[in-house]
Symmetry: C2
Subunit: 197 residues, 2 copies
Amino acid sequence: MSAFIEPIGRLINQFTKLPGVGAKTAQRYAYKVINMTEDEVKEFAESLLKAKSEVRYCSVCGNFTDRETCDICSTRDSSVICVVKEPKDVLAMEKAHEFKGVYHVLHGTISPMEGITPNDIKIKELLARIAQGGVEEIIMATNPDVEGEATAMYISSLIKPLGIKVSRLAHGIPVGSELEYADEITLSRAILDRKEI
Amino acid sequence: MSAFIEPIGRLINQFTKLPGVGAKTAQRYAYKVINMTEDEVKEFAESLLKAKSEVRYCSVCGNFTDRETCDICSTRDSSVICVVKEPKDVLAMEKAHEFKGVYHVLHGTISPMEGITPNDIKIKELLARIAQGGVEEIIMATNPDVEGEATAMYISSLIKPLGIKVSRLAHGIPVGSELEYADEITLSRAILDRKEI
């Protein structure tokens, strides 16, 4: 006899597919669902299905949208393109309320270790956008890790010859943190990239 | 313009209803769902609906079941009844592989602070089971907190006059823990309840 009756066991199993959810957490989630009203559970199930069926990728930038072209692409200045790895990075950038241009989502970064080549991510699509003209600057906002840096370097080597300005997000000490806790590489970058005040 | 497009925002909102899930975690879950295949999401949504529609309470003990009477009630010795607060406590008890009797789920504990009176939990149902005869012992396994203790005392005061043995789970130092970290109340209970070896 299994510890769980079948419908609960199956739901727990589904919850464990979510990132960072183990058996214990999945169990708590499942019990919570069983204690919801029927309407609440229906709404939950529908929102799962709708998120999957209605969300697609913007045909221009590759960000999530529920239309053909996303809100950002259809309303903002397209002369500056910020290149990010994933849709969630667009969100992170937007929260900073600093960038007023458009995005390009690569849907990955070059990683020879994982067999991800430049052809596996949306670099061709970026070059096609640039070929249409009007682009003045590309901001590389891939993560500051090995793959992100390599991807930024690779893309910049393709774009710079076209006479377009390519920049990279600044590295440095996070605002509000303490010097003591900054790792050495970050600190050395902060020193190298110091600004006159 | 909201940070999220509507179908994603709605799904995130649903995930935040799960216990301990904040906006950031809900967002990670939602993005994971969008990256699942259509079939996977369908399976997820169905398991939510089925858990809600198929799971009901055992007519005898009040534990979760997908039948009229749960597996435990229909197969085990019903002369010893272990009284617990919630269905998940049945699971915890079962994991110990020590108890061979049946359960009674109170679906709450008496709590004047929250306005939960003896009539709001399944005490009448427990007394009805006892009235049917054949019960030799009631083990009170409500939580060792104020409400759990009070509920155990209250129920025991109703049952003892019927000539039925009422016991309480032992308190003491958790196995594998260190004396140093035991709180004072636990330690004092462990001293009072010491056993000859």
